[in-house]
């Protein structure tokens, strides 16, 4: 039996930053995908959302999210692709990167693509958050490309992303 949980590819942002972190030519031989990333970006804010694009498309997305800020909890949603995790911004505590986890079950199947996102943007001050998201890409194509882009700015050096494939047999 082959390895159940296998690293497909990784990205580490180098000096000068990067507009996005992308995974292309994703094989369709796994059952689920698990994307884990650590990110900080250049936007002059404490935090930033991250847009997710699949197969080069940023359309036909919707999401619901549940968040806590340390003083309140709330929920909202949108029919956009900015429900793809988070990143620390440039005014957050130095050397602090957000942690995000995106799980895409049945990514190569023929149904619309539902996925789960959990992320935290920590900051040794105010304006932090922990967020859970339910995402949907209304497209029945197998996923062969995943791109993460900060809502604003660029990813900072040392941001990383790891894409794992999980096989159910």
């Amino acid at each position: 039996m082959g390895t159940t949980y296998k690293l497909i590819s990784s990205v580490t942002v180098g000096a000068g930053g990067a507009a996005s972190m992308s995974f292309t030519s994703i094989p369709s031989t796994y059952t689920d995908l698990h994307l884990v990333f650590s990110a900080r970006c250049s936007v002059a804010a404490v935090n930033s959302g991250v847009d997710i694009s699949l197969n080069g498309s940023s359309t036909s997305f919707s999401y619901i999210q549940l968040y806590g800020t340390g003083s309140s909890a709330g929920s909202n949603g949108a029919s956009t692709n900015d429900g793809g995790g988070g990143a620390n911004g440039s005014t957050s505590t130095a050397s602090t990167f957000a942690s995000s986890s995106i799980y895409l079950p049945n990514y190569a199947g023929s149904a619309n693509k539902s996925y789960s996102v959990d992320y935290v943007v920590e900051n040794n001050a105010t304006a932090t958050s922990t967020t859970l998201q339910a995402g949907l890409w209304s497209n029945t194509s197998a996923i062969n490309q995943v791109t993460l882009t900060p809502n604003a700015g660029t990813f900072d050096q040392y941001s990383t992303a790891y894409l794992y494939g999980i096989k159910n047999s």
């Binding site: 039996m1 919707s62 619901i64 909202n76 199947g109 619309n112 859970l132 949907l136």
Partner: protein
């Protein structure tokens, strides 16, 4: 070194059915992960229900959910099964849930069993349904050997739903 993360069993429904059961679960792992991409054979939605071993009472849970407009937390006790996230119904043509259930230390024979549930369903038209996280308690000190998945309101599980059980080994 033995594999850390191992598929134990998987079931993809070729037709709608009332329940899916994982039985004779090996006791050789540390934790279990159950991944469900689920849909209910009812018009709008149903809710995932699980029965562990022969336990039919005393389940409890604390949950936190967001439905796109408000956050809600609640608690339920003395339930007859583990009740968790939403399964989209057939009105939502191609939407399935994206759910994971982490059964921790499932094979021990000393403690009651805890489950971390993470459930997600979104419909295309109106961002309906919710994102849900829940800590559940299964009131049995027996090792978990069987998990049956059904729905809380009686709908069948729909064609194309998938259920995969993985074992995680600590060493």
């Amino acid at each position: 070194m033995a594999s850390t993360y191992t598929p134990i069993a998987t079931n993809t429904l070729g037709s709608s059915t009332g329940s899916v059961t994982f039985s004779s679960i090996p006791q050789t792992y540390t934790d279990l992960i159950l991944v469900i991409s689920g849909k209910a054979a009812s018009a709008t939605y149903d809710i995932t229900a699980m029965y562990v071993n022969s336990v039919t009472s005393g389940y409890s849970r604390t949950y936190l959910q967001g439905d796109g407009s408000s956050a809600l937390s609640g608690r339920a006790t003395a339930e007859i099964r583990l009740r968790a996230g939403y399964l989209p119904g057939t009105n939502y043509t191609s939407e399935y849930s994206a759910d994971t259930y982490h059964f921790m230390n499932y094979a021990n024979t000393t403690t009651y069993k805890t489950v971390l549930c993470r459930c997600n369903s979104v419909d295309t038209a109106s961002q309906g349904f919710n994102t849900w996280t829940q800590a559940s308690l299964i009131p049995t000190t027996s090792a978990i050997s069987s998990i049956t998945i059904a729905t809380a309101n009686g709908a069948n599980l729909y064609t194309g739903s998938t259920f995969t059980l993985y074992g995680i080994q600590a060493a």
